[in-house]
Structures are given as structure tokens and as C-alpha cells.
């Protein structure tokens, strides 16, 4: 294991994200669930990757570990070549805030406040001055096709629009990596396609690394690489583009 650690360490890693023997075991009472077993992944900057697999195969677990939202039982997650396993909780929070953007199936917006405010939030935590972050948030909302809906409350928008707000929110701090867990799960196929096209554009034009979990193989075919997960292991990989 040390081989890949030593070769990958350093700021100028080729990979936006890399895992080494990533393993996650959930223990409840006497039952042990091996949600993820020895997963080794290398994902390049700007790559658009789909993770597919049956329900319970460990897709969400993998995404949460990649997003340093959870701690692995064993193994390492390297972000831009830096090992995150020894980081403190507040260092991990900083990584999540600055390097990673999350997108969820249920949008998970804060419904009591405006669209603009939702998009701003990660920049507020980061301490970006108001003027700058409002400007960025408006740019991103235009990019995601929400011009003129800045002051709406999320629940007055359609599902597709809410997910676009979530995408804008994920982009506000210019992250290296976007992690999306079944972002189209709640959307009809046309809207789902539009969301995927948007993610595709992000990876092409902004060189953002996008990792998306999906059930929809048709949509998965829009990505650069498909990773098949089964019982917590990588079953197969298929490279579609380079």
C-alpha cells in the first residue's frame, strides 16, 4: 500500500481524487456490514465519472467517503494528492467547503430562505465578502438557467430548478470535485438529461471533476467512465471517452 501513497503524495498529483484500499464496515450490535471493501480508484482532474450498481452496493457510502463526510474503517482518500486520513474534523470541514461540492437526490436546500441565499451559503462559511459572493452566486444561477429567480423560495420552484440551485450552491466555492448522489432520482427523464448535460458542461468547460451516482444507464453513457459497484467492490469499469 505504501507504494501508491508515496507515489501519489504531493501537491501536483495527476489525480483529483484517489482511494487506497478504501474499506467501510458498519457495525450495529453483532452484525457487521461490509459496505465497501478495498476500493482503489484514481480519478483525473476534469473527469466525469458515473458510479452504478444495485441498491445497497455501497455507492452512497463511497461518495460520502470521497467527500470526507465520513471516516473509512480502513484505507485512504487522497484529494489533490493529499491524504485526508490524518486530518482533524475542522480540516475536513474546510476540505468539504473549499474542494468539494455535494449534490443530493432530495436537493436538500434550506427552504426558509431565498435561492440566492442558498447558493451563497458555502461562501458565507468560507468568509467570502458579500459583494463578491453575491456576484458569483448570480453568475452561477445564470449559468444554471435560473436568471430572474434569485429571490424565490426553493419550494416555489420545480424539482429540476431546485436541483439547479443545488448545483449552483455546489459550485460557489469553485471546488475541484462535484459529488452527486442520484441527482436525477426525483426528476423526469427530460429534466434528468438536462441536469446531466449541465454536469457534462461543467467537466468540459470548467475542468471540474464530477462523480455521479446513478441508476440510469442511459445517462451514465453521457460520462467519461462508468464504474460498476457490487457488494462494496468494483466489479467492472468501462471507459467511454478520454
Amino acid at each position: 500500500m505504501s507504494f501508491s501513497l508515496t507515489t501519489s503524495l504531493g501537491l501536483n498529483s495527476k489525480y483529483a481524487i484517489e482511494t487506497v484500499n478504501l474499506t467501510k464496515v458498519y457495525r450495529s450490535d453483532s452484525v457487521e456490514v461490509y459496505a465497501l471493501v478495498d476500493v482503489n480508484l484514481k480519478i483525473r482532474y476534469g473527469e466525469f465519472v458515473a458510479i452504478v450498481g444495485p441498491s445497497g452496493s455501497g455507492k452512497s457510502t463511497l461518495l460520502n467517503l470521497l467527500g470526507v463526510l465520513d471516516k473509512p474503517t480502513k484505507g485512504h482518500v487522497l484529494i489533490e494528492g493529499i491524504d485526508t486520513s490524518t486530518m482533524s474534523p475542522s480540516q475536513l470541514a474546510k476540505i468539504r467547503n473549499e474542494k468539494i461540492g455535494f449534490i443530493f437526490q432530495a436537493y436538500n436546500l434550506i427552504n426558509r430562505t431565498t435561492v440566492l441565499r442558498n447558493v451563497e451559503l458555502p461562501a458565507v462559511v468560507r468568509g467570502v465578502p458579500k459583494k463578491e459572493r453575491v456576484k458569483r452566486a448570480m453568475e452561477l444561477l445564470r449559468l444554471t438557467g435560473l436568471d430572474g429567480k434569485f429571490n424565490r423560495k426553493p419550494l416555489t420552484l420545480s424539482g429540476g430548478e431546485q436541483q439547479r440551485v443545488a448545483i449552483a450552491r455546489a459550485l460557489i466555492n469553485n471546488p475541484t470535485i462535484i459529488l452527486a448522489d442520484e441527482p436525477t432520482g426525483n426528476l423526469d427523464s427530460k429534466t434528468g438529461y438536462e441536469i446531466f448535460s449541465l454536469l457534462r458542461r461543467l467537466s468540459e468547460e470548467r475542468k471540474t471533476t464530477v462523480i455521479v451516482v446513478t441508476h440510469n444507464l442511459e445517462l451514465a453513457n453521457l460520462t467519461d467512465r462508468i464504474i460498476y459497484l457490487r457488494d462494496g467492490r468494483i466489479e467492472a469499469e468501462r471507459i467511454l471517452r478520454r
Binding site: 460520502n64 467527500g67 463526510l69 465520513d70 474534523p89 475542522s90 470541514a93 474546510k94 476540505i95 468539504r96 467547503n97 473549499e98 455535494f102 443530493f104 436538500n108 434550506i110 426558509r112 430562505t113 451559503l121 458555502p122 458565507v124 462559511v125 468560507r126 468568509g127 450552491r169 466555492n173
Partner: protein, 415 residues
């Protein structure tokens, strides 16, 4: 995260649960306003008691004949208060000066008008020992050898509620009183009159109830002795001690000599006793009020805890967006502090209004007319405000800590 953004976020969260937040704030308002109004009233009452006794120097003891009032039934004095006793009292260690007095009621006539007054016969050169704040408005004090001079209090010069003086400096007035005399075994009422000249007028010193100098007239001890026919006996003797700390010692020494034959009144002790009662009462009342604040604190805990439960998923999202545990803690703590600040601020105003208005309504009810107005000392108000906010913050601590410790992944899975 800058403090303004924290405030904004927390305020929005509170606003989102309007009814619950409002009710919680209401509890804080009730607690704070109770404390403020009761504290204001007891401060007002204390100050009233203080002002009642403050015209008398603290280092005075009043010696009166034993028996009579103190024991419930009247018993004749068994000892005379005379010049021998004055000499003996003067000799006691710790005594500065001894001032005998005669104190009777009489009718004061000025032209065709008259009023009933208390007449004090006393050595006026020593008055300043008893009433340190006493000052002359006009004229002079009456010397001990002056048999016709009279010193009048400010309420005698111009009675309360009137604009015209009742007496003027230099005016001749008459004092009269009636007594029952046995002439050859037959009881007969006799009216005794004597003319006096107003030679001095005092400034108002304000002693609402205890020894009201303002409504008294004072003549020399010798004049009172002969006018009232006292035969060298005094109604009381004021013993001024060298300092207030010596009061107890001197009081004991007097009791040692005369036992139950004399009664000793210590205005300072009376004042302190009343203050103690008032103090105990206000501690009790404030405790009750503080309990209502604790109830409010429990309300804050419940409200915030419910909010943490309902917002579990939101907390997970915030963590995914990069909020640190400490920032989540601060967000929820700020909600508690906001409840405290809003509640305490409104409670302060409500308490002041209720204390002033509510109390005067009660007074109107009973028809009493105490000159008691609540006193709201700014430093007390600040302490109460800070106390309320601190309690609210403490109440928020546990729910906020629980929120910050939620595991992001678990929180996100919750639906």
C-alpha cells in the same frame, strides 16, 4: 463566519418557527418583567423606609419611662426621668451628649386661626446632634434661658396644601392645652395658655413618619417645664453615643442601671429591622420570579431541542457544505441568545410599566397613600438583563452541543 451572518441565519431559523419562538420569548418576557417590577418595588420600598429614618442621626437612643405602651397594658412609670438621671447617663462610657426633652401636644393659635401641634421642649443648641440635616430658614434657635421664644417647623409656617403662611417671624402666637385637675376632690378641666414669639423658622427636612420635625414647634426645655407643669421631670431623654457602633454597648449599660424601669428605642435598630423584613421579603419574591425565569430556560431547552430534531437533515447538509462543528454550535447557541435578548429587552420595558402602573392600581384599590414609587436603578436593570441573557445562553448550550455532534452521514440519511 462573520457574526452578522450568524445572527441573520439564526434569526431566520427562529422566524421560520414563529409560534414556537414567540411563545418561548413570551416566557422569557414574563420572567424578566416579574423580576424587574418586583425589584423596582422593593428598591422603592427600601428607599422609603430609609428616608423615614434618615433625618435622625444613627447614633441616637431614646430613653423613655418604662411601662405604658410597651407592655400592652398601662402601668405607671416607676421612675422619674430627671436631672439626676441625665447626669448618670452622661457618665456612661461611650455617651457623647445627653439631651432631655418634653414632648406634648397643644393647640397653636395665630390670630383667629389655630392648629394642633406637637410641642417639644429641648435644648436647641443640641438639636444638630439628633437631626444632622436640620437648618434654619429664618431667625435663630431659642437659647435654653429664653422663656418666650419659639422655633417652628416648615409645615407649621406654611401648612401643607396652603400658600399663605400660618405664622411669620416675630409674630406673637399662643399655645394652649387643657388638663384635668382635682380641685377639692372634684375633677375640673383647666385650660392653660401662654404667649410665645416666633423667633426661628426651620427649613423643610422631610421626615415622613417618624418624629415629624417639620410639623412640630420647639421651645426651650425650661419654658416647656413651666408651661406644662412638669416639675423637673422629662418625657424622654435622647442619648447620643460617640458612634453608632456603640449603641448596643450603651443600651446595655443603661439597662444595667435601670432595668425595666426605662424603655429604650433605637431608631437605627428599628430601621434595620424593617429593612431586614423588606429584604427577606424581596429575596423571597425575587426567588419566585427567578423560578419563572428557570421555567423559561426549560422552555428554551425544549424549543431548541425540538428544532434540532426537526432540522437534523439540515444540520447534515450544513456539515456537507463545510460548516464546522463549532459553527453549528454557535448557530444554535445564537438562537438561544436571540430569544434571551429579545425576551429580556421587552421584559425590561414591560416590567417597568407593570411595576409603575400595576402597583399604583393596587394602591388605588386599597385607598392607601404611601409615598412609595418603584425605583429602577440602571445597574440593577443591566444585571437583570445580563442574567436573563446568560440563563438563555446556558439553556441553549446542551441542544446546540447535540446539534454540533450529530454525525453528518447519519443526519443526511434521515428523512
Amino acid at each position: 463566519m462573520n457574526p452578522f451572518e450568524v445572527l441573520r441565519f439564526s434569526f431566520e431559523a427562529l422566524k421560520d418557527r414563529k409560534l414556537r419562538s414567540t411563545l418561548t420569548i413570551l416566557m422569557v418576557i414574563i420572567g424578566t418583567s416579574l423580576i424587574v417590577s418586583l425589584n423596582g418595588l422593593s428598591t422603592g420600598f427600601s428607599s422609603f423606609i430609609n428616608s423615614t429614618f434618615s433625618t435622625l442621626a444613627p447614633n441616637t437612643l431614646i430613653v423613655i419611662p418604662g411601662g405604658g405602651v410597651e407592655r400592652g397594658t398601662w402601668t405607671a412609670p416607676s421612675i422619674s426621668l430627671d436631672s439626676r438621671m441625665v447626669r448618670k447617663l452622661t457618665g456612661i462610657d461611650g455617651v457623647k451628649v445627653v439631651i432631655p426633652f418634653i414632648h406634648r401636644s397643644a393647640v397653636l393659635r395665630s390670630g383667629s386661626a389655630s392648629m394642633s401641634v406637637l410641642v417639644a421642649g429641648i435644648d436647641q443648641t443640641k438639636l444638630h446632634y439628633i437631626y444632622p440635616t436640620l437648618s434654619l430658614k429664618e431667625g435663630k434657635l431659642i437659647p435654653p434661658t429664653d422663656f418666650i421664644g419659639m422655633l417652628v417647623g416648615s409645615d407649621v409656617e406654611v401648612p401643607p396644601g396652603e400658600t399663605k403662611p400660618f405664622v411669620r417671624l416675630g409674630q406673637v402666637v399662643t399655645l394652649e392645652y387643657t388638663k384635668v385637675e382635682e380641685v377639692e376632690g372634684v375633677p375640673k378641666t383647666v385650660t392653660v395658655k401662654r404667649a410665645f414669639v416666633v423667633k426661628g423658622i426651620l427649613n423643610y427636612i422631610g421626615s415622613p413618619s417618624f418624629i415629624n420635625v417639620d410639623s412640630m414647634v420647639q421651645i426651650s426645655l425650661a419654658a416647656a417645664n413651666s408651661f406644662f407643669g412638669c416639675g423637673g421631670k422629662y418625657d424622654g431623654i435622647i442619648v447620643v453615643t460617640k458612634s453608632y457602633e456603640l449603641n448596643d454597648k450603651v443600651e446595655k449599660a443603661i439597662k444595667n442601671i435601670y432595668g425595666e424601669d426605662v424603655g429604650i428605642i433605637s431608631p437605627k435598630v428599628i430601621s434595620q429591622t424593617v429593612q431586614k423584613i423588606v429584604g427577606g421579603w424581596s429575596v423571597f419574591i425575587l426567588t419566585v420570579a427567578a423560578v419563572s425565569l428557570i421555567v423559561a430556560a426549560v422552555g428554551i431547552i425544549t424549543t431548541l431541542f425540538t428544532s434540532v430534531m426537526e432540522r437534523t437533515k439540515e444540520i447534515g447538509v450544513l456539515k456537507a457544505l463545510g460548516f464546522k462543528d463549532s459553527q453549528i454550535l454557535i448557530l444554535f447557541l445564537t438562537e438561544a441568545v436571540l430569544i434571551g435578548v429579545i425576551g429580556a429587552s421587552i421584559g425590561l420595558v414591560v416590567g417597568i410599566v407593570f411595576g409603575s402602573f400595576g402597583f399604583s392600581t393596587i394602591m388605588g384599590f386599597t385607598g392607601l397613600n404611601f409615598p412609595i414609587t418603584p425605583i429602577y436603578q440602571p445597574e440593577n436593570l443591566i444585571v437583570i438583563w445580563l442574567f436573563t441573557v446568560a440563563i438563555s445562553a446556558c439553556a441553549g448550550l446542551y441542544p446546540a452541543w447535540r446539534a454540533s455532534k450529530l454525525e453528518a452521514v447519519v443526519a443526511l440519511r434521515k428523512e
